[in-house]
Every structure is written in structure tokens, then in C-alpha cells.
Symmetry: C3
């Protein structure tokens, strides 16, 4: 309650957490209506262009698979009690399970049951996209409580020709060069491992749209692997426009931030993220590229080799709750998502202003005082930071080095350097 | 007293300190008769070619300013007592003060008075070259003692079309390629911050002239910033001859030596200075280039980008006495100046002999023994340093790597390497 | 004794040590019958092609010297007792001693006697190849015991036109590109400093021949310096075939392994040796190239600049026994030689398989599952090492980076990477 008696405005973190909670129950997979329902909800926050790509479409080395939809699934005992029920958690069904409707003894059922013996109360997350299979995931404790005997086993799913669904949101910039922000949409009820990334991406897009950025920003919501491959296949002829990019995943847990560098390792996004994380003095970790993880695998595949890094908090498989029912909305926090969002905004604020200039007056120092750019009273023992920034920009602007290079070489804040560059450009001393 | 009863010969350090003391009282500025008187005294040690450049001359982005001269200046109380008197210290007047001759109350005078509250007995050094202004610098203690009331304020200065004055001394070498040594001449009664540099440069020139060096050495005595800019403007067509250079400043305080690298950071002078300072095992510091400091700012401006570093003891603004009356002849010591001089001589002894050779017998080792270059009794467990130096020179002389590279790679003293190279050249095994 | 009562098979280390003991008594030098006898014994283990190069042959900057042979040598007292006798140790005679047969007082003999005062019971090793000289090497204790008086001094040697002898053994590979393994054969009764190298080289050749390697391996047994120079002179036109090489010396003492890098420092053999030594977690040392040591001096001379490193245990002159009679068969151990051999085998196993591939499906990840290369059940939190290796090979195979680069970048064992590359090549996803 504020002094006026009104409710305080919810913070961005609270808004993002609310979105996570809303999306949580939906049963997403790499295709199907769960993805569509997810994009519809995100579309309430942000206009999305939804793409549907038909089953069987060739995408790079892959083929768009059949569409999977599921209406109900359960294991019931002879009394008709549902001992495992899809309605309670979308994780209960092995993703892409083929339909089944049988009665069988527990012994026959067992090979189809997946548990986590080390975490007896958690449900694991498992899929079988490319091998026809059916199965259930359940808590070890649930399994232990099952009596021998017959069970009714039913998965009311369909695997039919249909579509793969992904969506884009574009913020037009001053130039057609693009920055992509990509998050995966294929995980069912998992909060950190995809919903937090979706939420941060969505609120990042809203923030970037507040004023026209330099770059054009393209947000991609797509199923992991096959979705990114589909997007790349359909955008191959315009891939040269993609100058930078960021994959968001595991964006909401309470761990410190982790930036995984692009395959290039020295792409501009890598340098910007390292600079911003380091300058912000947040605890963080920067890791080398590995060809495993999220869709940076595809964007950084050697044929494309895009300057795309990945921002997470605790990376995939780095926390016990990963790919289990314990990755629920309680596992992610408004504060952590707000922090991830803030770093993204800081990084894009640097990236978006990181120009290269050429000093037009490179022989000796230009007389800054005559142009009103320099403190006129000499003999002072300290030079002001703003003046130092101007001298550094003049010294290093050779058309090769960027303002970020100037900031890192000089130790001055990027903002100070960018403001100095604006002043020098205004005075005609440098040009882009 | 020596055993013979004669006075011992003064050391180079004592000679340099005597020169500092002689130059100290003169009121130097970026133009004017104080500079001319300074150069006249230096000319007693070294033949100088003095250049006069007219007011209004365009020099790169700058214009040579009016010439400033001052005869007298004081603040007197109503009893006629000079409470601040230019005759006592050239620092008392704001550099480039326009003339003034008025009586005014203390309150009106105050904005024109500059003090150092943290050092109440020191007079600060201030200038206003490019903004018409007048003022006095004085001890805070003096200011505190002034009673309210009327004061006679008089600065008997002139700011008129005239000239900017700088001087050169050249030591012809075996090749027209040049090394420049530059020091600033524009500071009034400040001992470390310009006089020590002038003194070391002067005695360095005398030492270098003892035998014909390889390079041509050019010593430049010029006012800071505008002087270096003027020199660069007038030498633009021959700037390609300048291969290396050193700016000397703050060369006499008791702190450890500091070498500030050129903008390139890997210029030969940078490598030589790092090598000599490190090999000499003196306490020292090597710093990166910054576009602030002394005239390396101009020589290293990106259009010229010369291989010019800067040698100081404690760098500008790194000591409390900087730009105050406490930077007096007592602040600099004969020993410190002698040490700076010694390092300069060592560095130029390396630079001057740092040739690149090509091994003319690169297939297998040449038989050194046949040429009398190798110890003939084999089977010994240690190779002599001189022989190792020959093997290293043969191994690395590819026309790209210099003798300094050989010294650094091998860990052998530069002298040993240079002697080995002479022997190999004498035997026809390498050529320049 | 094994359970069956049979003797256990001698290990490779024991075989090598037996070879050292057999070769030890022979009086080797840079020419002569001692070298021939040595090669004859090695020839029992390995077919050798022996080369004889006539005295006076010009080899690069050198000339093949006269051939030296010695039958007997001694110092006898007046009673006829041999106080120093070549028959007891080949070290007793200064290598390449000219013949002498005289009686002389001890005082006249003394300048021809070499001892090690710091190790009074050891005989030093000395030679005078290129300066006509004669002399004896003996224990200081022996010298101390000599009474003044006359001694009969006799060296029954000949220095005549003859030949320099070296040998080669070649293991043909799948390609004509060669790897050379070189050891020196010129030291008389010294165990670590040449016999251990000869033994390891010999057993390495036997091991490599067990299956057809990729490279052609050439083993060179030659006297130090003049032998390598002779080999280089006679192989100059085919030197481009030599892609990698290793000099073996001091290969049998009990110290840790030392790899001395080639002059290039980043040759493939350098990277392989560093990788293998580091991955094996053996205590070891990697040192920079120096133009002193064994025949890597010649192979790495700048005109050839071959990728040839040198593997030792304790390097030359790094142990007190170096070049003395204490470097005897007891100074080297079967275990140490077996360890040196094992590292060579590991290194060549890497070198021989270290191919460069090109990813033929570089746009996005190829669908490994479809090709049976990937675990089909998704959602698991750990990727198997073999799968990671495939992803790394795909990510990095750009035709520039080798499998060793992949192993080092990924942190995976080289073997795992090589197996993954084989699988991917089998599936048509990469090509050499």
C-alpha cells in the first residue's frame, strides 16, 4: 500500500513472473496446439507474426516432423483411480508419445515409466521426437506405491501431418542490419527452462520499442533445434543482415548470470556482454562456446557462424531442478528475471550505439577550446573525464576501433565515451 | 677534497642541477622573452638553432597566439606594501594575464585570486592562454592574512603580435634517419616540470656527440602543445625521417622512473626502453599510452603516430608538488637527474646498435671453429656465453628480427649479442 | 617365476637396457669402426641401410673429416704397469687423438691429462675433432696417485682418409610425407647420452612397424653435428617431405621427461608433444628452442627450419654424470626407457591420426539421429562424450583446424575425437 492507499504498480519482474505462471500449465512440444496457445498469450503483450510450416518440409538437413497433439493421458488402477494423470502435470507424458489404450500388468508397463530415483518426489521431463515410443514420467514415490496388478493405460494423442509453429516480432530500426533475440517454446511445464526466457524476451522487446533503435531487432519464438533450423532455412537468403544475436534460456533462476560466447568468441556481442557484465560488477560468469546447449548451436553452426551468444542465469543441466517438475514457477523469481532483463537492456544500449568513427583532424590534437569543447583555464592538475573521453575518441578513431574499444582501452564508462563522440561529431571532428 | 687537495670535478648530476637553478627564476610561458632567455642559457652548453614563428601563423589546427611579456605585477595594500609580488616568484601571475592597473576592494579582487587551500603555503601555477583573463596565484596563508579594504592591482604585461620561439640541436649520424628528443620550455619557476627535462636533454646531447652515432639525433626545446604542434607543422614533409623519439619531462624528482609507451605500444623505442629498464634492475614502471600528458600527445596523434615514448620519474600530477611553488630546485636531485640521464644513454646505446641481419649460411650451422669463432676443444658441458650469442644471432637473423629480439629471446645481454653480431659480420656469415 | 614355472617375458625396458649394455663398451666417435660395430648390433634388431661418405666430401658449410680408428692406448710406468688403459674404458683417450708413442716425464705429460677434480673417481669425456691433439682422460684419484718420473705414453690410433658412417631405417607409410626420428651415435662409453636414445629409437621403430602408419617414418642413426649435417646435405632436394621430427637423446635417466620445442615453437610435433605429455599427467617439462643441444640444432637451422623437437629425460649438462664415466648402464633404467618409449608411441599415435576435415553439412547441425549417430531419447541432462565429440568435430572442422585442435578446444581425449571423426566420415558428414 502506498501512502495514497493505492496498490503500487507491479514491477517488470512481477509482470514477467505473472506471464510465466500463466504459460506454465500449457503442454508445449516442438509442434502442436500448446505452442499456438503460448504464442497467443504472448501476443497479448506484443504483436506477433505467427508462421506455420507444413509437416514434411525440408529444412536444411532436417524435415519438419508430424504435429503432435494430446488431449488426455493417464494410468488408472482397476478401481478406476488415475494414479498418474496428465491433467495434473503436462510432464507426466513422454513428449511425442504415440497413442495407446490398453490394459496391462505393471511388469509390462514398467519399461515405459521414467522416474528420478535420486529425487523421488520429482517428475522428470522426457521426449522421444524421432523414435515412435510412448511412456509416462512420474515421481519415484508414486511408482513405489503402485501395487502389482493390471492398469489401464491411455494416451489420447495424435501424430498427424500438420505444422510446426513459430513466431516473430520485429522492431524496425534506423538501419536494416538486424539483431536477433531467440527463445525456445517447446518445453511443457518448465518455468526456468523456457518460460523465463520467453518472458524476458517479451519485456525486452517492449522496452526496445520505446524509441527507434539503430538496429532492427527481431525476436524469434520457436521450438528448440528444429525451430531454429526451420527459421534459418527460411531466412537463408537474408542471413547476411543478422549482425548480432542473443539466445535467452534459463533466464529466471536465482543463480548468477552466465554469458556463453558465440563460436567466434570475439564477436561484437561477446565483447559487449563481457563489458557490460564486468562494468556492472554483477557476479557473473563468461564461458567459451560449446556446440551443445540451446539454439546458439544452430545460429553458430559453421556455415552460418553468426555472432550470437547465449545469456542464462544458471546454465542448462547446472541445477538439480533442470528438466524436472521442480523447475516450476517458484523456482524462478521476479527479481532474477528483472536482473536478466536489465542486463539485456544495458547490453543493447551499448551495442546499439557502438559506432566506428574516423578522426578528421588526425595531425596533432585539434584545438578543442576554440570549439567550446575544452576547459579554458589551463594548469589544472586533473583533466575532466569528459575531456579525457574526447581525447581518447580522437586518438583511437581510425575507422577500425569502435567506441567500445575506446571505452575498454581508456577505462572510461561507455556512456561517457558515447557522449564525447556525439560532441566531436557535432563539431565536425569525427565522422562515422 | 681529494687527496691532492683539489676540488673533485662536479658530476653530471651536479652540472644539471646547477643549470636547473640558473633557469629557475625566469618567467617562461608559451611565448615571450622568458623562453628566449632560457634558450640563450642552454645555448652556452650546446649550440642551438632558434626558430621564431610569427603570431597568426596557421599550424595544423591551431594558430600561433600573440606573444606575452611581463615586466612587473603586484597587489599592494593602501600603505603601498606589495602583499603579492611577481618579483618574488614568477608563479604569482596567472600565465598570459592581460594587463590591469586598478584599485579595487578585496571582495572584487577575490575571483581573480588562485590558492591551494590544502597546501596553504604553496603558490599554485595557473594559466589562461586562450581566454583573455587576468589573475594572481598566491599562498592560501597570504590570502587569509589580507584585511578587507582597497588594494592596488597591477599587471604590467603586454599581449601583442610577436613570435613563438623554439630551438633545435642536431647531432648528425651515419644515416639521415632521426631520433627526436623533446622537452617543453613553457613553464615558469617549476623545477621538475620542465627544467629537469631541459637539463637532462642538454647533457644527453653532449654525451651523444662524443662519437658519431648511427642515427641523427634532433633535440627539440619548445613550448608544450603549441610548440610541438608548430614544430610538427613546419616539419610535416620530412616527418618520415623520424624513426624514434623520446619526450623528457619530470626528469629530476626522487621517485622511480616511469616510461610511458608510444601510442603504438610496440614501437622500437618502447621495446628498447622496456628492455633497458628491466635489464638494469632499477625499480621502474612502464605504462600504456594515454592521449594526455606532455608532447607525446602531439607526436603520437594518429595522423603522425610516431614511435615516441615519454620518460619521467614521477609522472605529471603524480606528486603533490606538481604545478606548485614546491616544485622548486630542492625538489629535484643531482642523483635523480644523473640516473635519468644514464638510462637515456643506455637506451640510445641499444637503439643505435639495434640492427637486423640476415644469416648468409642458414643451412645447418656454419663451422665456426674453422673461422676461429669457436672453442675447439669439444665435449665440454658448458658453452660460453659469447658462443651462445653467435648461435642465437645465426638462428634468429632472418632480416625481420633485430639484435634486441635476439637478446630478449636468448636472455643474453644486448652487448654480448651485439659483439657476437660484429664477429659474425666480420666473418661474412651475416649481413645487414 | 610365473605360476607355470616359466621365466616371464622380458619387458621392452629390459630389452632396451640389454641393448645399452651390449653397445656400451664400444669406442664410438664421429667416424670409425666403433660406429660400424654399433650399427651392426642395431641391425640385429632392425634392418638398417648403412651409408658411407668419403673423407673430404663437402657437406653444407662443412667437410667430412678423416676417419679415426684406435686399437690400443695406455700410460705405463717404468715397471710396465698400465696406470691408464684404453682397454678398461673407451673414455680414457681424448677422442680423435693423433697417434703418440713416447716416453716422457709426468710434468710433460700433465698438459695432456684431463680430470674432473670435483668428482675425483670419474673419468671425463673429451674430444678434439678439428684441432690435431692427443690426450688422456682419467680419474683425478688416478692422477693423484701417479709418482713423478718417466711414463711410456702410447696411442695406437690412425687418422686417415676413410668414411663417415650413418644408417637409416624406413617404415613406409600411406603417404610419402615423412617423420624423422634421429639419434646420435658418436659418443663412446656413455649410456644415457646416446645409447639410451639409440635403444628407444630402435624399439620405437619396431613398434611403429606393427601396422602401416599414415606417415613414412625415417630413423636416422648418425654422429652428432657432422652426421646430421651430412644427412641434410645429402637429402636437401627431398627435405620438403619431412613434415615432423624428433631427436632422441638422454632418453634413459630417472629424471622427468623434457620436451624441447622446435625453433618454430608451434610446429605440429610441438603441439602433439605438449598435448600428450600434459594429457598423460606425467611430471614433465616443456622448454623453448635454443640453438644448442643435439641435432635439432641442424634440423632447425633457419634454412631448413623443420618441425623437429627433441625429447630427453634430464637434458644434456643437466645432471652431474653428463659426459663422464658415471653415465654408465647403471645410470639408465629399464623403466625410464620404457616410459620414454611409451610417450613416443602415444605422441606418434596422435600425430599419425591428426587429420584436418571439412564439415560437408555446415548449415545448422546435421540430424545425427537419422544416421544412427545420436541417442534418440531426448530430454536427458547429460550428453554423452562421444556425441559431444561429434558435435565438436562438426563445429570446428573447417579444413584449418585439426583433430588435435578439436581435442584441445573441447577438452575431450584425442582418441574420442578421432573415433568421432571416423564415424562422421563414415556417414559422409565430413571429408579430409
Amino acid at each position: 500500500m502506498t501512502a495514497s492507499g493505492e496498490q503500487p504498480m507491479p514491477s517488470a519482474g512481477e509482470h514477467m513472473h505473472a506471464l510465466v505462471e500463466r504459460l506454465y500449465p500449457l503442454c508445449r512440444s516442438i509442434t502442436g496446439d500448446g505452442v499456438r496457445a503460448t504464442l497467443e498469450i504472448v501476443g497479448e503483450y506484443l504483436p506477433l507474426r505467427v508462421h506455420e510450416v507444413a509437416t514434411g518440409t525440408q529444412v536444411l538437413d532436417w524435415t519438419v516432423p508430424q504435429e503432435w497433439n494430446i488431449r488426455d493421458a493417464y494410468i488408472a488402477d482397476t478401481a478406476g483411480n488415475r494414479v498418474v494423470d496428465f491433467a495434473a502435470s503436462s510432464l507426466h507424458v513422454l513428449g511425442y508419445s504415440v497413442p495407446v489404450s490398453r490394459t496391462m500388468p505393471l511388469a509390462e508397463l514398467r519399461p515405459h515409466l521414467h522416474t528420478l530415483p535420486d529425487h523421488p518426489n520429482w517428475i522428470p521431463y522426457r521426449t522421444s521426437y524421432y523414435e515412435p515410443e510412448w511412456g509416462f514420467c512420474l515421481a519415484q514415490a508414486t511408482l513405489d506405491a503402485l501395487a502389482d496388478g493390471e492398469y489401464e493405460v491411455r494416451i489420447d494423442s495424435t501424430l498427424t501431418d500438420g505444422h510446426l509453429t513459430y513466431a516473430e516480432h520485429v522492431i524496425p530500426g534506423q538501419v536494416p542490419d538486424e539483431v536477433i533475440v531467440s527463445c525456445h517454446t517447446c518445453h511443457p511445464s518448465l518455468a526456468n527452462d523456457n518460460l523465463a526466457g520467453i518472458a524476458v524476451a517479451t519485456f525486452l522487446a517492449r522496452a526496445l520499442a520505446e524509441q527507434t533503435p539503430y538496429y532492427t531487432y527481431r525476436f524469434i519464438y520457436a521450438p528448440g533445434t528444429i525451430g531454429a533450423i526451420t527459421w534459418l532455412a527460411r531466412n537463408q537468403e537474408r542471413i547476411d543482415r543478422i549482425k548480432h544475436g542473443l539466445v535467452l534460456a534459463c533466464a529466471g533462476d536465482r543463480g548468477r548470470l552466465t554469458y556463453k560466447q558465440s563460436r567466434r568468441g570475439d564477436a561484437e556481442i561477446d565483447r559487449v556482454m563481457r563489458h557490460v557484465l564486468s562494468a556492472s560488477q554483477r557476479p557473473h560468469r563468461v564461458t567459451e562456446f560449446t556446440p551443445y546447449g540451446y539454439d546458439e548451436r544452430q545460429y553458430c553452426s559453421p556455415g552460418f557462424d553468426l555472432g550470437v551468444g547465449s545469456l542464462s542465469r544458471t546454465p542448462y543441466a547446472g541445477y538439480a531442478e533442470y528438466h524436472t517438475s521442480a523447475d516450476n514457477p517458484g523456482f524462478v523469481s521476479p527479481e532474477a528475471m528483472a536482473d536478466t532483463l536489465a542486463v539485456c537492456r544495458e547490453a543493447f544500449a551499448v551495442l546499439d550505439r557502438n559506432r566506428r568513427y574516423v578522426n578528421l583532424s588526425p595531425y596533432g590534437e585539434p584545438q578543442l577550446g576554440r570549439r567550446g569543447l575544452y576547459d579554458s583555464l589551463g594548469g589544472r592538475s586533473d583533466a575532466k573525464q569528459a575531456q579525457m573521453a574526447m581525447l581518447w575518441v580522437l586518438s583511437l578513431s581510425d575507422g577500425e576501433r569502435s567506441l567500445l574499444d575506446v571505452a575498454e582501452r581508456s577505462g572510461l564508462p561507455f556512456d561517457t565515451v558515447a557522449v564525447a563522440a556525439d560532441a566531436l561529431r557535432g563539431a565536425g571532428l569525427i565522422e562515422a
